[in-house]
Amino acid sequence: MNDTSQKAIHWQRTKNLMIVHLVIWFIFSFVVHWIAPSLNKVSVPIMNFPLGFYMAAQGSLIVFVVQLFAFAKQQDRIDRECGMAEAD
């Protein structure tokens, strides 16, 4: 496969990964907080937080941290598989 089409595949996969992560980001930045009053009727097991409060004070933050470590790993895999990664 030539370099140009390899670059096109790389960029397509990069864009797909971007979209996946922005969808997750959107849900935990906006959607879960919009429905916080309903979520508050649910309690987080063991820790006993109202879920709506928990998501704003802690839950969304944990999702963001985990998501970013996963993103770094996934993007690096795409770079390597497409031969677009930097030398180690």
């Binding site: 670059k7 971007m18 930045s29 907080h33 409060f53 933050l61 993103f71 770094a72």
Partner: protein, 608 residues
């Protein structure tokens, strides 16, 4: 002593050096604790904490001095991901995060958590949309990217203007905070303290630029996170709330809801008294109206898009050794920031419980005036005007609307409310100083670098040699710092107002030109200039109209959220003008292709 000059071995030895530093800091805390037992005065302990840590930062700044361009502008691009994460966390967490956030949650309840969500989730945008691409590009400053991607001095100049407006708004609040803390710890007047604070800030940045700021920020992160976590965890254990307060405050949230019924929180209300507020809203009351929802999500959106547009944050990722390291570094940054941000709501909740629960010795609400005034911490903070006890209905009992406080004391008075030794208060002062200084350093450097590199070198005197460029950079740093201190000494705005505005300004002018510069090849110079100018002008106009009450806010989008209007206008202007004008030339389009792949050299050479 030569470790700072032998680059290879210095980087390899970083874990050892900062491990040793952390151990030394812990030993210093223990020494202070012993001296306190031996009878050392409280004032002296506070002075030693702030003085000792600031001298260490100055020492690191001095050791990191440099006369090389890439060391001055991007720390030689060799900062490992984890350490850059710590430096970014310190750069990011300002005096406001450290001192004001927990108090904000205490008074504001659930709606205030929009700041907690917004100031963390923005890093997803930084990692996914921007940092790796800007790192590959190889720029020294954010306007450097705008200027090269879109071409022409006008685009570069617009980016410099947005950067200066946003960062200068922010830096005055930070210099103000260093002045406040220094004046309290060193027992000198605010007007003098603010210049001493500036001197300390400048020593950390002036001699070594980005390299010095990087290594002092790592040191400042360690101090600020220890200073934030130790008092909260100690308080939690002492009061019997549990070993890890962040995980166990769920029951406290429910208990507070019961106590709020008992004390009629949200029913009994009073207006602020000389800048101090009483508890007027419930702790766990998420917005339940349409406007309330809009206010929550727009504040989240502004803080996130602002994060991804603030040059002092973006430029931290120019310093990593590779694109891969830049991505990892964003993740580490957020982890280090998370440690403070998931603690603040726990602190706010437990402080509230301690005030409301009549079964606890610390309780305030529902007690008699005499009992409330018997608390030592109430007397102490009342004497400096941060607490006010007013029996408005003259029944001899303090209701929830009769106890007023400055929200900052939720953090500052934690050690005293829980009866911890004074050494912990000294530690908190050192932490607040570290938080404010590290952010001020990052901001001042972002402004001075943009003016010296983009305005002076790229536009005014492109023939200037390295020495001249570095001298100009330092002179500008001093002037901007002095201007910031002069404005800060006027004490124009509350800290939080200025901080939120900085995010709004940055997103109004820079968010879409930066994102579309990478993700939309068709974006061109005319579009980018239109985006920056229209965004900044419309955003500023909306702020002016709403803040001065010349216009009612649209669906609850008040002055803290004006970035939504500015960035919206910026996007429309940029897309419309781009489509009306010709596509960028092939060279520009190839440049965009090149920055999209990590492999290969940076687009700009290492000393440009």
């Amino acid at each position: 002593m030569s470790i700072f000059r032998m680059q290879g071995s210095f980087i390899d030895n970083l874990p050892k050096i900062y491990g040793f530093y952390t151990g030394g800091f812990v030993a210093f805390i223990l020494l202070m604790a012993l001296l306190e037992r031996a009878g050392l005065k409280e004032d002296t302990i506070g002075l030693l904490f702030v003085g000792f840590t600031v001298v260490i930062y100055a020492f690191i700044g001095w050791m990191s001095r440099t006369m090389q361009l890439d060391a001055y502008y991007v720390a030689g691009r060799q900062v490992p991901a984890v350490f850059n994460g710590m430096a970014t966390a310190a750069d990011w967490m300002s005096g406001a995060s450290f001192v004001a956030m927990a108090g904000g949650i205490y008074l504001g309840g659930h709606p205030y958590l929009a700041f907690v969500v917004g100031w963390t989730g923005g890093y997803v945008l930084v990692a996914v949309l921007m940092a790796p691409y800007l790192r590959k590009f190889g720029c020294y400053t954010v306007p450097d990217f705008i200027g090269t991607r879109y071409g022409g001095n006008l685009a570069r100049f617009c980016a410099v203007v947005v950067l200066v407006v946003a960062s200068f708004t922010y830096v005055t609040a930070q210099i103000n905070a260093t002045g406040t803390i220094a004046s309290r710890a060193l027992l000198i007047p605010f007007g003098v303290a603010i210049w001493i604070g500036l001197g300390a800030i400048l020593i950390c940045s002036m001699l070594g630029g980005m390299r010095a700021v990087t290594w002092t920020q790592v040191a400042q992160y360690i101090v600020l996170i220890v200073a934030y976590l130790v008092p909260v965890i100690w308080m939690s254990n002492k009061q019997g709330f549990g070993l890890i307060p962040q995980l166990v405050y769920g029951d406290a949230v429910h208990r507070i809801a019961e106590l709020e019924q008992l004390h009629q929180v949200g029913v009994l209300k009073s207006a602020a008294q000389s800048g101090l507020a009483s508890l007027n809203v419930k702790h766990n009351a998420p917005p339940d109206t349409f406007v309330g929802h809009v206010q929550f999500v727009t504040l989240v959106a502004c803080m996130m898009m602002g994060t991804a547009s603030l040059p002092h944050i973006l430029m931290r990722y120019f310093t990593t050794p590779s694109v891969r390291a830049a991505r990892n570094s964003v993740a580490w940054s957020l982890l280090f920031i998370f440690l403070l941000y998931f603690t603040a709501p726990a602190l706010a909740t437990f402080t509230k419980l301690q005030m409301l629960d009549p079964n606890l010795a610390t309780s305030i609400i529902g007690k008699s005036v005499a009992e409330v005034n018997a608390h030592v911490w109430v007397q102490k903070w009342a004497s400096v005007g941060a607490v006010k006890v007013l029996d408005l209905n003259n029944d001899g009992i303090i209701q929830v609307n009769e106890f007023f406080l400055n929200p900052d004391i939720v953090v500052l008075a934690t050690p005293e409310i829980a009866g911890l030794p004074y050494v912990i208060s000294g530690l908190v002062a050192a932490g607040g100083m570290a938080a404010a200084m590290s952010t001020a350093d990052g901001l001042l450097l972002a402004i001075a670098n943009a003016l010296s590199h983009d305005l002076y070198y790229k536009m005014i005197d492109p023939k200037a040699d390295v020495k001249r460029r570095l001298v100009v950079a330092r002179v500008l740093l001093i002037f901007i710092g002095a201007a910031g201190s002069a404005v800060a000494s006027l004490r124009l705005t509350g800290i939080l107002g200025a901080v939120a505005w900085a995010f709004d300004f940055a997103m109004s002018g820079l968010f879409f030109p930066l994102v579309l510069g990478v993700w939309w090849k068709r974006a061109n110079r005319a579009g980018a200039i239109a985006g920056m100018v229209v965004g900044l002008v419309v955003g500023t106009w909306y702020l002016y109209m709403v803040y001065n009450k010349l216009m009612a806010p649209w669906i609850g989008i008040d002055h803290l959220r004006f970035g939504i209007i500015g960035a919206g206008a910026s996007l429309i202007a940029m897309v419309v003008v781009t489509l009306m004008t010709p596509a960028p030339d092939k060279e520009t389009q190839d440049m965009v292709d090149e920055i999209r792949i990590p492999k290969g050299d940076t687009y700009l050479s290492s000393t440009h």
